[in-house]
C-alpha cells in the first residue's frame, strides 16, 4: 500500500484504528490499574480526523492545565505517543502510587514528578508493546518527556508533526477513569503518515 490519504479513509480503516486504540489502551489501563491497585475503566476509543483548530479543544479547552507525557516512537513505526492527564487526576494518580493523601492540587514535588514520569513510561510501554505485537512491527520508544502546561500548548507539539504532511491530524484517543472518576486521562497515538499506512497494511488492509 502506498501513501495513505487522510481524507480518503474508509470506515474499515477507522474500525481497525479504533481497535488498535482499544487493545493498546486496554493494556495500558491494566498496567495503570495494577500500578495503583485500583480498578480503572476505559471508554471505547475515538478515532478522529481533526482540523488543527479543533485539536486543542479535545481535552476541555486550549487553556486547561494538563500534564502531558510524550514519548517518541522509533523503529518500523514512527511518531509519538502521548499520555495526557488533567492536573487533578495526576495528583490523585501519583498519590495513589506513593500511598499518601492528596495534600495539594497545585505544585508537584520532585518525587511526584519523577513518579508521574515513571507512570507515563510504564503505561506507554504497555500500549506500545500491544501495538507491536498486533502489527508485528518493531517499535521502540524514547524516554518519557513531561510538561505541565496549557493543553493547547502541549498538543501543539504533535500537531506540528501532522502539519508537515497535511492540514488535519488523526487521533486515536482513549479515555479512562477510576470508578469514582478520580482519574481522567487520554492516550493519544500519533504515528507519522507513513507509519499509519504501515500499521494498516500489516493488518492486511
Amino acid at each position: 500500500m502506498s501513501g495513505l490519504n487522510l481524507d480518503n479513509m474508509d470506515n474499515m480503516d477507522f474500525d481497525v484504528l479504533r481497535e488498535i486504540g482499544n487493545i493498546g489502551a486496554g493494556n495500558a489501563t491494566t498496567a495503570l490499574s495494577q500500578l495503583i491497585n485500583t480498578k480503572i475503566d476505559m471508554n471505547v476509543p475515538k478515532v478522529e480526523l481533526l482540523e488543527f483548530k479543533e485539536i486543542s479543544e479535545i481535552i476541555g479547552g486550549a487553556e486547561r492545565l494538563v500534564v502531558g507525557i510524550l514519548l517518541t516512537l522509533q523503529g518500523q513505526a514512527e511518531g509519538m505517543m502521548m499520555f495526557i492527564l488533567d492536573q487533578e487526576s495526576a495528583h490523585h494518580l501519583v498519590n495513589a502510587l506513593l500511598g499518601k493523601e492528596v495534600d495539594n492540587f497545585d505544585d508537584f514535588s520532585e518525587m511526584e514528578l519523577s513518579a508521574l514520569n515513571e507512570i507515563g513510561n510504564i503505561i506507554a510501554g504497555a500500549y506500545l508493546s500491544s501495538l507491536a505485537a498486533l502489527t508485528n512491527l518493531t517499535i521502540t520508544s524514547s524516554v518519557p518527556y513531561m510538561a505541565i502546561d496549557m493543553a493547547g500548548a502541549i498538543l501543539s507539539v504533535p500537531a506540528i508533526e501532522f502539519g508537515k504532511i497535511g492540514d488535519r491530524a488523526l487521533l486515536i484517543q482513549s479515555q479512562f477513569g477510576e470508578a469514582d472518576k478520580f482519574v481522567n486521562g487520554y492516550f493519544i497515538l500519533i504515528p507519522t503518515i507513513e507509519s499509519y499506512s504501515l500499521i494498516l497494511s500489516s493488518l492486511g488492509l
Binding site: 496549557m150 501543539s156 506540528i160 504532511i165 492540514d167
Partner: protein, 161 residues
C-alpha cells in the same frame, strides 16, 4: 467594548478598533500580531511551521511563517491598513518538552521564531516587542485601542508588551 476574535491553530484573522484578537495556548507555534497604529487595523496569525517551501502540502497559508505573514498583510490591507505603517509583536515558539535527542521536533519552536523574524525583516516590518522561546505555553490577547499585547502563562504574572 469590541469583540474578542479567536484565532485557532494554523489560522489567521484581522480586526479593526474596537475589536481585539486572541489565540489560546500557543506552544511551539508562534503568534504574529501585525498592527497599523494609524488606522488601528490589527491582524493575528497562529503559525505552526517555519517555511512553506519545504513542505509539499502548503495550501493552508496560515500554517507557515512566510505565507502566513504575507496573507495577513493582504487581509489587513483589505480592512484599510497601510502597508508601510505596520509594526509587529510576536510571542510563542516555546520548546514544550525537554527532548534530549537531536531531532527536528526539538527545535521547531526556535525555528518558527527565526523564520518569523527573518520574514518580518525582509518585509521591513519592525518588531516592537517579543516574548518567545522558553518552555511554557502562552495565551495572547491584542488590543487595538492601546496596541498592547497581553500574555498569559501558567503560574506566571501577566505580561504586557
Amino acid at each position: 467594548m469590541g469583540q474578542m476574535i479567536k484565532v485557532g491553530m494554523a489560522d489567521l484573522n484581522t480586526c479593526i478598533i474596537p475589536d481585539s484578537l486572541t489565540t489560546l495556548g500557543l506552544g511551539s507555534c508562534v503568534g504574529i500580531v501585525l498592527y497599523d497604529p494609524i488606522t488601528k487595523v490589527a491582524g493575528l496569525a497562529h503559525i505552526m511551521l517555519p517555511d512553506s517551501t519545504k513542505i509539499k502540502n502548503n495550501n493552508n497559508k496560515a500554517k507557515f511563517a512566510d505565507t502566513g505573514i504575507e496573507t495577513l498583510i493582504e487581509e489587513m490591507k483589505k480592512k484599510g491598513a497601510n502597508r508601510n505603517s505596520l509594526v509587529a509583536k510576536i510571542a510563542g515558539g516555546a520548546q514544550m518538552f525537554a527532548f534530549s535527542s537531536n531531532s527536528d521536533m526539538l527545535r521547531v519552536g526556535e525555528r518558527n521564531v527565526e523564520a518569523t523574524k527573518q520574514k518580518l525583516n525582509d518585509l521591513q516590518i519592525r518588531i516592537l516587542a517579543e516574548d518567545t522561546g522558553k518552555n511554557y505555553g502562552r495565551t495572547i490577547e491584542f488590543y487595538t485601542e492601546t496596541g498592547e499585547l497581553l500574555i498569559k502563562s501558567v503560574g506566571k504574572e501577566i505580561k504586557i508588551l
